[in-house]
Amino acid sequence: MGDFDYSVILDNLPLLIDGLKVTFLLTFLAVVGGIVLGTFLALIRIAKVPVFSWVAAAYVNFFRSLPLILVIFWLYFLVPLFLGRPVGSFYSVLIAFILFEAAYYSEIIRAGISSVRDGQIAAGRAIGLSYPQTMRYIVLPQAFRSMVPVLLTQAIVLFQDTSLVYVVGLKDFLVSAELVANRDQRLVEMFLFVAVVYFIFCFAGSLYARHLQRKLSA
């Protein structure tokens, strides 16, 4: 450990920060997309629309049985094939993450919606709101408030999962660090640095999620 070279980290800081930006951007877009699609799936399942509910359930169980890397490979292969032209790996990876994470988010959101008492739905219908309106104005706002800590925890998982873009070589934080590591032959420094940075963000995030959870249950 004596020859630990801090300068390789400092010298390459701009490159590493660019990578970190990609990681954060991907996480943010995937969280938003995942929650939107996940809410949609959860609502379909809860509303018990014939056939559609079954399709949504099948979607969730199907994606949850697959490794994320396989889904990334699938989309990396499919997206250009469908569009008929090559696109950057960022978009195919983003679609993979949204499709994959929506399955997990939908389970969280379904549990959140189920935790709102059904009297609320009856009350909404009684004052003349339609079913979609009841969901939109009464059930979802309450459900989401109680879900924030769990959604945040899932976002941290997703943040860690984005490191898997490594398999298609998208220049996120890990891949940028790996490029430097191999170029300067500084694997020890770079990988330890990457681990520390991930740890700081994830640990801080999980402490905050726990704080929110306590505030909710208080």
């Binding site: 450990m1 199907f62 049985s65 697959l66 490794p67 994320l68 890397i69 396989l70 490979f73 699938w74 292969f77 499919l78 094939l81 469908f82 008929g84 941290i156 860690q160 999962d161 490191s163 898997l164 490594y166 398999v167 890990l174 790996e178 590591a181 694997l187 020890v188 990988f191 330890l192 990457v194 681990a195 991930y198 740890f199 994830c202 640990f203 999980s206």
Partner: protein, 238 residues
């Protein structure tokens, strides 16, 4: 969309053998990693719930460390960094002379990572058995070890069969990460088939079907196991 379908490719040599071999590596990697995760995770879960402060602290630090660094980064730490930190001879042994370095490293890395998750499941299982049972054990004169051995653990492990099943399936899916350090397991094999034949659809479909079938089979099997060893009179809620 221009694509030449050829499903027969999956049953032709050598690709069929590749799939079988890939599945074999995936399964053996998952099972070996699960042994580590289950054993260590159980010990950690007991430590986190026991009455000794130092043991609680050690287990808590372990869980936070392993849960807050991406598994892929941990895999690289074990594969590229760990041997460098050892004395020269030991480092060389880990890197090259050890039997199947990449596979062994992947097993250990995935096992240690999942142990932190199993620990949390075991801890919540023990908590679900309840403080009343713990006190009852103490009241009839059992020491702490006996309370765990005869009361808390036999109940806790039955309660947490469903979450432990999903932890095992998480290992099964996470075993695909081993391809990044060169273990040619199922996902890597299908990628290889795609690169050799350009039949990506067929190759990835094969992997997708295999993963799903194994997952659903394990789930059905564990549901039967769960029903057979359920504790009578318990709904198994916390």
């Amino acid at each position: 969309m221009n694509y030449n379908w050829d499903w027969g490719i999956l049953f032709r040599e050598p690709y069929f053998d590749w799939l079988v071999e890939g599945l074999m590596w995936t399964v053996s990697l998952s099972l070996c990693a699960w042994v580590i995760a289950f054993a260590l995770g159980s010990v950690l879960g007991i430590m986190r719930s026991c009455s000794s402060r130092p043991l609680q602290l050690i287990a808590t630090v372990y869980v936070e460390l392993f849960r807050n660094v991406p598994l892929l980064v941990q895999l690289f730490l074990w594969y590229f960094v760990f041997p460098e930190l050892l004395p020269d001879d030991a480092g060389r042994w880990v890197k090259r002379e050890m039997p199947m370095p990449a596979l062994t490293t992947a097993i250990i890395a995935i096992g240690l990572y999942t142990a932190s998750r199993v620990c949390e499941q075991v801890r919540s299982g023990i908590a679900a058995v309840g403080i009343g049972q713990r006190n009852a054990g103490k009241a009839i004169g059992m020491n702490e070890w006996q309370v765990y051995r005869y009361i808390l653990l036999p109940n806790a492990f039955r309660i947490i069969i469903p979450p432990l099943t999903s932890e095992f399936l998480t290992i099964f899916k996470n075993s695909s990460l081993a391809l990044t350090i060169g273990v040619v397991e199922l996902t890597a094999m299908t990628r290889q088939i795609e690169e050799y034949t350009f039949q990506g659809f067929e190759a990835f479909t094969a992997a997708t079907v295999i993963y799903s079938v194994v997952t659903f089979t394990v789930m059905l099997l564990m549901r039967v196991v769960e029903r057979r060893i359920r504790i009578p009179g318990m709904i198994a809620t916390s």
